[in-house]
């Protein structure tokens, strides 16, 4: 397929973060990650557990932008208290949207500037500390830039990463793993030497240099770096079913095509 948007490409790339995860709670925060979790479940990973966006687990991903609850049905119950019980237990993989990310995979959604008197206050820690130390996490960054991928450490370390100095002796690190970062330019993982951030696929028409220029710290180009897989006709059909009102078109500025003209 060559007729697809960047959003659709990203949805497919995001869906892949849950491949081979087994029966975990898949939590995608934001429109593209949420469509992606549904796509993953309806294609390669039917065993994933996903919610209706509120407190119930459903085997049928809900439509984005639905106007009524009509016809929804639920296999399980997942109120927030159980989300914490489940995430401390570890069977979860979240795909979250950070404001800043650093070379150690640490992310920030709390505030920009000094914590005591921030230049810009944002959400707060939310679940980042507990998620990141207990289960797999991936990130979605729709605006890959040096502002997001900062040179030093993120202003507020909300989620743990691979910076040894931040880990006290005796703390268990083995439950934590930063899996993938999907951006509007590429897909990365932390499988470089010493968990260095590594580009494993470039979106159609994007060069490694462009990615590197948009990142404040050095990246590694994977030996087997490929072009990010294009959505298949089957994937596009499912995406259209999951998002019939094309809310995805409003997620990336100007809704660019998936293959750069």
């Amino acid at each position: 397929m060559s007729d697809f948007t960047l959003s659709e490409l990203l949805i497919c790339a995001c869906a892949d973060v849950w491949k081979d995860d087994g029966e975990v709670l898949a939590t995608g925060i934001g429109i593209i990650p949420r469509i992606a979790q549904g796509l993953a479940k309806l294609t390669h990973s039917p065993e994933l557990m996903i919610t209706d966006g509120e407190a119930y687990l459903t085997e049928t991903p809900v439509e984005i932008g639905a106007k009524s609850h009509e016809g929804r049905s639920y296999g399980g119950y997942m109120p927030y208290s159980r989300v914490f019980d489940a995430l401390w237990h570890g069977r979860r993989h979240a795909l979250v949207g950070p404001v800043q990310v650093d070379r150690w995979g640490q992310a920030n959604i709390s505030c920009i500037g000094d914590f005591d008197k921030p230049k810009r206050q944002m959400l707060g820690l939310r679940g980042f500390p507990g998620n990141s130390i207990n289960h797999a996490n991936s990130m979605f960054v729709p605006n890959h830039s040096t502002r997001v991928f900062v040179e030093g450490e993120v202003d507020v370390v909300c989620s743990v990463g691979y910076k040894d100095d931040n880990w006290q002796p005796g703390v268990r690190r083995d439950f934590a793993s930063v899996e993938r970062i999907v951006t509007n330019l590429c897909v990365m993982d932390f499988a470089g030497p010493n968990h260095a951030l590594r580009v494993i696929s470039l979106h159609p028409g994007v060069s490694f240099d462009e990615v590197q220029d948009s990142t404040s710290f050095p990246l590694i180009l994977a030996d087997d770096c490929v072009e990010t897989a294009h959505p298949t006709a089957e994937q596009l059909a499912i995406i259209r079913k999951l998002d019939p009102r094309d809310v995805r078109a409003r997620q990336i500025k100007d809704n660019p095509p998936g293959i750069r003209p």
Binding site: P79, L123, I133, N134, C158, Q168, G170
Partner: protein, 291 residues
């Protein structure tokens, strides 16, 4: 035993400097009629604890807050609470920013009258640097694992939204997600519930009794106020008032915007407020959000 009272009775039992927990989650199930009564009062220097939304934003805007203890402050469909943001950026309030699970764990510790509960969340993050008073503890067993010792978060009072209550303090919550309200009640010296309806005595069957989220011995006061959660949602019942919330957020853009909002809507009583926002029927007709 009759615990029924008015919003003003509740506020009369609160004092300057108290630590007050507010139930709900972001724009959902906030006991706003009680928050509005605090806004109308002389109370000050409060420490407010919760999964915050406009409750925290409004109290900050009105200068009631000394300190906030929160996992987040957000309106979900509008991610950033503008008045909270203003207060933080102006440096006018103290902030103890917690992981969401950490807040639950601190309330649970208080509910069990334990000094702390161990957990992993927070280790390896800025939380440790920003809060040097938080200690770690080592497992006394062979693993010797280092864990964060989350201290109990004790509340002087908890304010909670429920669907029904009786004069004895029995409550019913029919929401899809009860959030952590039970733990606010257990962590608090006194809990005040804002109910859509209050009857003399709830006598129900087993299925309905399961909606009793916490036992009445935890409840000190019961207030009846239909539509009292507005503009937050109270499902089943009514959704949040997106238009009103946007209006509130826009007010933050202007200098003195809070005062304009308060003058327009707050009024002297909840009846004034409900008239100003379009009336009780409009509130209770707000459709549940589809997510």
């Amino acid at each position: 035993m009759n615990k029924q009272m008015t919003t003003t009775d509740v506020v009369a039992q609160l004092q300057d400097g108290m630590t007050i927990g507010v139930g709900g989650w972001g724009p959902r199930r906030k006991p706003m009629a009680l928050i509005r009564e605090i806004l109308r009062s002389d109370l000050k220097d409060l420490t407010i604890v919760g999964y915050g939304g406009m409750d925290m934003g409004m109290l900050c805007a009105a200068g009631k807050v000394k300190k906030l203890i929160y996992g987040f402050v957000s309106l979900d469909f509008i991610p950033l609470e503008p008045f909270f943001r203003k207060a933080r950026e102006a440096g006018t309030i103290e902030a103890l920013e917690l992981d969401e699970g950490m807040l639950h764990w601190g309330l649970r510790a208080a509910g069990y009258r334990l000094p702390f509960l161990p957990m992993r969340a927070g280790l390896g993050t800025a939380f440790m640097h920003n809060n040097p008073e938080i200690k770690t503890i080592n497992s006394p067993y062979d693993d010797g694992e280092t864990l964060l010792a989350m201290p109990a978060i004790k509340l002087d009072a908890a304010l909670l939204q429920v669907h029904k209550a009786d004069q004895l303090g029995n409550v019913r919550v029919y929401s899809p997600d009860p959030f952590f309200d039970e733990w606010f009640a257990r962590a608090a010296d006194k809990t005040y519930v804002l109910a859509e309806e209050v009857c003399a005595r709830l006598d129900s069957d087993e299925a309905d009794a399961k909606a009793n989220l916490f036992e009445r011995s935890l409840v000190s006061g019961v207030v009846e106020q239909r539509g009292g959660a507005h503009p937050t949602s109270h499902v089943p019942g009514y959704g949040w008032d997106a238009a009103h919330i946007k209006r509130y957020c826009q007010a933050a853009a202007d200098e003195g915007g809070w005062q304009v909002y308060a003058d327009e809507f707050l009024g002297a009583t909840e009846a004034d407020y409900q008239n100003a926002v379009g009336g009780l029927d409009a509130i209770t007709s707000l459709p549940r959000q589809v997510l």
